[in-house]
Symmetry: C2
Subunit: 229 residues, 2 copies
């Protein structure tokens, strides 16, 4: 090991190295534009050796996507301490970090490129489900009413589309969108709460633990200003 | 024609008939579960004759999807008369009619089944673009600022995900969700307007033409009630 001779990697170690190299390439450019030759070159091995570990580009792409999915799901984990709005804002910061790091790959995946199939869809769904469960845990809800499930799941899709639109030109500062999405969650919840007493009670309970300048009161003040002639 | 003998259809007429039959089947069940044999039986022709008009199930699926896309885009067209909230509510009603009529096919498509490819993605994008352009026309905006484009496009994705979640069990009355989406649009616009003077001016202009009980003031009142201890 100290002689300067490169140590031979074990099978699993080599697989993990290839996944890391591929993920970096798939993140920086649309996965369709990345060739096995490039991955082999970036990993410092021959093309046939790549095929020895992965039968084709799709299986390597799926392995890279699996790693990225686990990475993203891990970023949703946030301590159950302090105001909820502040927790959600920290998670939004880490979500945009991820989107920033994997921009072209994230866009290609979410816009449904040719690589999308049942495995990739299942991975996307697993990340959405992880986000959904984290939010419910922070809201301290175990058996969500239908309207709450709708708010949380549709807000997750709003966060995805907001990030995708941001990536397309980055014309709005991401820090602004991170705050906006937290307030969007409050706004969507308030709209739905009008028709659901259980949801109203839940939101009232949350407000009692939020600081005075929580996203709801802030938003209410803004709406009054906007709506008054 | 009056002898009871079935008239032979022309090529284009037969193609259109097959598309109609296929669209009905693809709408009612997941397209993966619909066979060419079924389509042939429903159209009253032989399986080889179907292949004479369409080289395979994918091309027939894409033709059916094209017709459905044009149908949906047509439902977004709304006269430029009366309050904006009421116009958007009527469009939401027709959108949910469409989703209702094409439930399983809509879900399968939007959840990215195996049939999804570049043609289907382009069709989905064309419908989103049609919705986007209709909304801008109603807002009387030709060159939207980045934040307005974000609101409109991300709200369109919110409408899609809300409809998809509704289809999964139909646990919330659709009429409620149609109103909710109109108010969601107002809420998302209000959140973003806090950071954009042009957007604030635009929303103020809209409010002057809306009735007193417009979705914004309604939402503001609700937020105040929720946020007050």
């Amino acid at each position: 090991m100290t002689t300067g001779v490169r140590r031979r990697m074990g099978v699993e170690e080599r697989r993990q190295q290839l996944i890391g190299v591929a993920l970096e390439l798939f993140s920086r450019r649309s996965p369709d534009d990345v060739s096995i030759d490039e991955i082999a070159a970036a990993a410092g091995i021959s093309r046939p050796l790549v095929y020895h570990y992965f039968p084709g580009k799709l299986s390597l792409y799926e392995a890279a996507l699996k790693r990225a999915s686990e990475d993203l799901a891990g970023r949703f984990v946030e301590p159950h301490e302090g105001p909820l709005g502040a927790r959600l804002l920290r998670v939004m910061g880490r979500f945009f970090d991820f989107v920033d790091e994997h921009g072209p790959g994230f866009s290609a995946l979410m816009r449904g490129g040719p690589a999308v199939g049942s495995t990739t869809n299942a991975l996307i769904d697993s990340v959405r489900q992880a986000a959904y469960e984290q939010i419910l845990a922070h809201l301290q809800v175990q058996d969500p009413p239908a309207r709450l499930e709708l708010i949380v799941r549709s807000w997750i899709s709003l966060a995805e589309s907001t990030a995708l639109i941001w990536l397309d030109g980055r014309r709005i500062p991401r820090a602004e969108l991170e705050v906006q999405l937290v307030q969007d969650f409050a706004a969507l919840a308030a709209v739905a709460a009008a028709r659901d007493e259980e949801l109203t009670a839940l939101l009232r309970r949350i407000f009692t633990t939020e600081p005075a300048d929580n996203p709801f009161t802030d938003l209410a003040g803004r709406l009054i200003t906007l709506a008054s002639p």
